[in-house]
C-alpha cells in the first residue's frame, strides 16, 4: 500500500473535477445507505439489533486481552499456528518466509483491508513472490496500481474501457471488450488457472471467535472460499480487534455487517474455518497460519478515548453517509481506509501530524456516528485528535485563538475588539455583505458573501430592546 498521506487536498480537488468519480458518488453510496435501511427493517426490532451489536463490540473491547488469549488457545488446539505480529514488517516477513519455505512462486489473496494496511503485496513482490488479488475489484485496482475507491467496491468507479485497456496490456484478455460480464469472466478464468497450482493462499479475517478458535470470512464472489480451500498452506491475517466472544456474537455481527455493507441479510458466501483440514477431511489447507497483528493497536487501546476506534467492524456504513466522502471519494484519504473510518484509523497508524487534513476535513455533522453499528463517536475522536496536535499548531493560528480567547475572557476587551474589527472589515462591505477581505476571496469567501459586522451588535441592541420594553 502506497502511503500518500499529505496529498489530501490535491487529490480531493482532482476527484471533484472527475465526472466519473462524481457520477459514482452521487449514486452508489446513497444507494447502499437506502439498502441498509431496507435490510435492517427485516429485524423485528432494528434498534435493538443495533444495540446488541454495539454491546458486543463494547464487550469485546473491555475483554480484549483475555479474548485474544482464549482465541489463541483454541486456535492452537484446533491445529492452527498462531503468530503475533508486532507490526506490518513482522507480519510481512513471516508471510514472505513462509512462501519461500513452501516454494511458492505466487500467492492468491482474498480481499482484505488488513493487508492493504500492512502493504503485504509490495513486500511479497519485492521478495520475488507474485501476488494475485482474487476479488474482482481488488484485482482491477491491483492491475492499475490504484488504492481502493470504496471499501466494498474498490474499483467501482473505473469504467470498463479503462479496464479493458489494462487487461489487454497485462495479457488477461486478448481482444478489447467493454462488456463488464465478459471482463469479469476473463478474470475468473485467469484466476482459476492460478488456483489450480497455488501453494499459499492469504486472506483477512472478518471475525475470530474466541470460544472456538474459528475464523470467519464474508464475501460475495466466492474467491475467498477458493483461496481458503485450494492451497496446502493458508495464511489468515487479523488485527487484534477482530475477535468476538462466541459464535452467537459472531453471527449477530455477521447479520449487522452484511446489512450495513451493501444491504444484504447475508453475503453470498460465509466461510467458517476451525483449524486446518483434519486427517479424515478430503479438502482444506494442511496448514493454517493465523497472524494476529498489533501494528500500534496496543497503544490505541491504552488510551481510553482512542480505544473505541477498535470497535470498527469495517462495514463501510460511515462512508456511504458521509457528506465529505460523497464529494471526494476514497483516494484522498491516502491509506487503506477511507471515509470517516479512514479519518479515524489512518491517523492512528500514520501519526496525527501527517494526517491533519483527515480529521480536520469534517463538518462534525455526526452522520457517521449515527450510522455506525459498532457505537463509535467518530466526530468526538476527530475533535480529540485535533486537541492532541493543537499545542504544536501553526504559531499564527495558535496566537489567533489565544488572543480571541483572551479578549473573550473580558467583556470589555471583546466589545472593543468587535468595534475595531467593524471599522476595518466593514470597509469592504456592500449592501450589508462582504465578498472578500482585502481582496482575498479564498476560504469563507470562496463560495459565499458574509454579512458585515452589524451596525449594532445584539449587545448594543439589547439596551434599546430593554428600554423599549420597560
Amino acid at each position: 500500500m502506497v502511503k500518500r498521506a499529505g496529498t489530501f487536498i490535491e487529490t480531493a480537488r482532482k476527484e471533484m473535477a472527475n465526472p466519473l468519480s462524481q457520477a459514482f458518488l452521487s449514486v452508489l453510496p446513497p444507494g447502499f445507505a437506502v439498502m441498509k435501511q431496507l435490510s435492517m427493517s427485516s429485524f423485528p426490532d432494528p434498534a435493538a439489533a443495533i444495540e446488541l451489536s454495539k454491546a458486543i463490540r463494547q464487550e469485546t473491547l473491555t475483554r480484549l486481552p483475555e479474548l485474544l488469549e482464549e482465541f489463541e488457545e483454541n486456535a492452537l488446539s484446533n491445529g492452527a499456528r498462531v503468530f503475533w505480529a508486532g507490526d506490518s514488517a513482522a507480519a510481512n516477513e513471516y508471510i514472505l518466509n513462509l512462501c519461500r519455505e513452501k516454494g511458492a512462486a505466487f500467492v492468491t489473496k482474498g480481499k482484505s483491508m488488513i493487508t492493504e494496511e500492512t502493504g503485504l503485496n509490495s513486500a511479497l513482490e519485492e521478495g520475488g513472490i507474485e501476488v494475485f488479488e482474487t476479488d474482482l475489484g481488488e484485482f482491477i485496482t491491483q492491475q492499475m496500481g490504484r488504492p481502493p475507491f470504496h471499501i466494498v467496491g474498490p474499483a467501482i468507479n473505473i469504467p470498463a474501457a479503462e479496464i479493458s485497456e489494462i487487461f489487454l496490456e497485462k495479457g488477461i484478455i486478448s481482444e478489447p471488450s467493454n462488456d463488464a460480464v465478459a471482463l469479469g469472466k476473463s478474470v475468473r478464468a485467469y484466476l482459476r488457472d492460478r488456483f489450480k497450482s497455488v501453494k499459499v493462499g492469504i486472506t483477512g479475517i472478518n471475525m475470530a471467535v474466541s470460544s472456538s478458535g474459528a475464523i470467519i470470512n464474508v464475501e460475495n464472489e466466492g474467491n475467498i472460499r477458493l483461496t481458503k480451500s485450494s492451497p496446502e498452506t493458508l495464511v489468515a491475517v487479523m488485527s487484534i480487534e477482530k475477535v468476538v466472544p462466541d459464535m452467537n456474537d459472531a453471527l449477530h455481527i455477521l447479520r449487522i455487517l452484511c446489512r450495513h455493507c451493501v444491504g444484504q441479510k447475508i453475503s453470498g458466501y460465509v466461510t467458517i474455518d476451525t483449524g486446518p483440514a483434519k486427517q479424515s477431511e478430503l479438502d482444506g489447507p494442511k496448514e493454517l497460519h493465523i497472524i494476529i497483528l498489533d501494528n500500534g493497536r496496543s497503544e490505541i487501546y491504552r488510551d481510553s478515548l482512542t480505544r473505541q476506534a477498535l470497535k470498527c467492524i469495517r462495514c463501510g456504513a460511515c462512508l456511504n453517509i458521509c457528506p465529505v466522502y460523497s464529494k471526494i471519494g476514497g483516494y484522498p484519504y491516502g491509506f487503506a481506509y477511507s471515509g470517516p473510518m479512514g479519518q479515524m484509523l489512518n491517523p492512528l497508524f500514520l501519526g496525527f501530524h501527517r494526517t491533519k487534513d483527515l480529521f480536520s476535513a469534517c463538518t462534525l455533522c455526526g452522520a457517521c456516528r449515527d450510522a455506525c453499528p459498532a457505537g463509535i463517536d467518530h466526530p468526538g475522536l476527530f475533535l480529540y485528535y485535533r486537541s492532541l496536535i493543537a499545542e504544536n499548531a501553526d504559531q499564527k493560528e495558535k496566537a489567533l485563538y489565544a488572543s480571541a480567547a483572551a479578549a473573550m475572557q473580558s467583556g470589555l476587551a471583546w466589545r472593543l475588539g468587535i468595534k475595531t474589527a467593524r471599522a476595518i472589515l466593514n470597509r469592504n462591505a456592500r449592501d450589508g455583505y462582504v465578498s472578500s477581505i482585502s481582496g482575498i476571496k479564498k476560504g469563507w469567501f470562496s463560495n459565499r458573501d458574509l454579512p458585515e459586522i452589524a451596525k449594532k451588535t445584539f449587545h448594543e441592541l439589547w439596551k434599546e430592546l430593554n428600554r423599549k420594553d420597560t
Binding site: 487536498i9 480531493a12 480537488r13 471533484m16 457528506p323 465529505v324 464529494k327 471526494i328 480536520s360 476535513a361 469534517c362 463538518t363 462534525l364 455533522c365 455526526g366 452522520a367 456516528r369 449515527d370 475533535l383 485528535y385 485535533r386 486537541s387 492532541l388 493543537a390 493560528e397 495558535k398 485563538y401 489565544a402 480571541a404 480567547a405 479578549a407 473573550m408 475572557q409 467583556g411 471583546w414 468587535i418 455583505y433 465578498s435 479564498k442 476560504g443 469563507w444 470562496s446 463560495n447 459565499r448 458573501d449 458574509l450 454579512p451 458585515e452 459586522i453 452589524a454 449594532k456 451588535t457 445584539f458 449587545h459 448594543e460 441592541l461 439589547w462 430592546l465 430593554n466 420594553d469
Partner: protein, 239 residues
C-alpha cells in the same frame, strides 16, 4: 417564566436580528427575558479547533455567568451541544467544575425545544405567507435529537405552506473552520443544499442554526439573490 438569553457570538456580531427575534418571541409567549451583558462566546470554535485549554477558560466563564439561571435559551443547536455535551469533556479531571458544568447543561435549551417542551406551546401565533422548506441542522437533528420541536412549530404558522426538501437532513457543509479550510468541498455541499431548496419550490429555507444560516444565506446572496434563508426565530417572530 424567567428566561436567560444565551446569544451565540455569531448572532451577537453578524445577525443581531435573530437575537431581537428571540427576545420578542419569548416576550410574546409570556416569558420574562433577561440578558447577561458580560457574555461573550461559549468556546465552541476553540473546542472544535482542538484548543481545549482556551475552551475550558471560556467554559468556566460561561458557567459562572449562567449557573444561577433556571432556563437558558439559545437559538443555536451547536452552541447548546457545546455546553451540554462538550463542557463535561473539558473538566474530566476536575470534579467540582464537572459537576457545575453538568448542572448547568440540564438547564440549557435550544429555542424550539424550550418553546415546546418547557413552555408547552406548539402554536406561536406567527403568520407568514408563502412556501417554506426546513433544513435539518446537524446539531439539532443528530447532536441534540430535538429537531421535531422546530418542525412542529413551523407546521403551525398561519399562512405558511411547508414543502418537502430533498436531502433536508444532509449537512450544508459549514462546519465553521471546515468551510474556510476546505472551500471546494464546502462549496459543493452548500450548492447541493441550495439546488434542492430551489427544486422544492419554497420561497424561504428555514433553519435553526446560525452557522448553517451564515453558510446558506451567504451562498444565496452571491448566487441566488432572489432566494432567502431565515432563522426559525425570525420566522416564528413574524406576524
Amino acid at each position: 417564566m424567567r428566561v436567560s438569553l444565551f446569544i451565540p457570538c455569531t448572532v451577537d456580531i453578524f445577525m443581531p436580528d435573530i437575537g431581537a427575534a428571540v427576545f420578542s418571541l419569548l416576550k410574546r409567549l409570556g416569558c420574562e427575558v433577561v440578558y447577561h451583558q458580560e457574555q461573550t462566546c461559549c468556546g465552541q470554535a476553540h473546542f472544535n479547533a482542538g484548543r481545549r485549554k482556551d475552551a475550558a477558560k471560556l467554559a468556566r466563564r460561561f458557567i459562572s455567568i449562567f449557573e444561577h439561571d433556571d432556563n437558558i435559551v439559545c437559538p443555536s443547536g451547536s452552541c447548546v451541544y457545546m455546553v451540554k455535551k462538550h463542557y463535561p469533556e473539558l473538566f474530566g479531571g476536575d470534579v467540582r467544575w464537572l459537576k457545575r458544568a453538568k448542572r448547568l447543561g440540564e438547564r440549557v435549551f435550544e429555542l424550539s425545544e424550550f418553546i415546546v417542551s418547557r413552555l408547552g406551546i406548539k402554536d406561536t401565533d406567527a403568520r407568514f405567507n408563502g412556501k417554506v422548506a426546513y433544513h435539518e441542522s446537524c446539531h439539532l437533528l443528530r447532536g441534540l435529537g430535538v429537531t421535531g420541536y422546530a418542525k412542529e412549530l413551523i407546521s403551525r404558522v398561519n399562512g405558511a405552506q411547508v414543502v418537502p426538501l430533498a436531502g433536508a437532513d444532509s449537512c450544508c457543509g459549514f462546519g465553521g473552520e471546515f468551510s474556510n479550510n476546505y472551500p471546494e468541498i464546502s462549496g459543493a455541499l452548500v450548492s447541493d443544499k441550495v439546488k434542492n431548496f430551489i427544486a422544492s419550490g419554497a420561497d424561504v429555507i428555514i433553519l435553526s442554526e446560525p452557522g448553517c444560516l451564515l453558510n446558506i444565506m451567504g451562498y444565496l446572496h452571491r448566487h441566488h439573490p432572489d432566494k432567502k434563508a431565515m432563522h426559525i426565530a425570525n420566522f416564528l417572530a413574524s406576524q
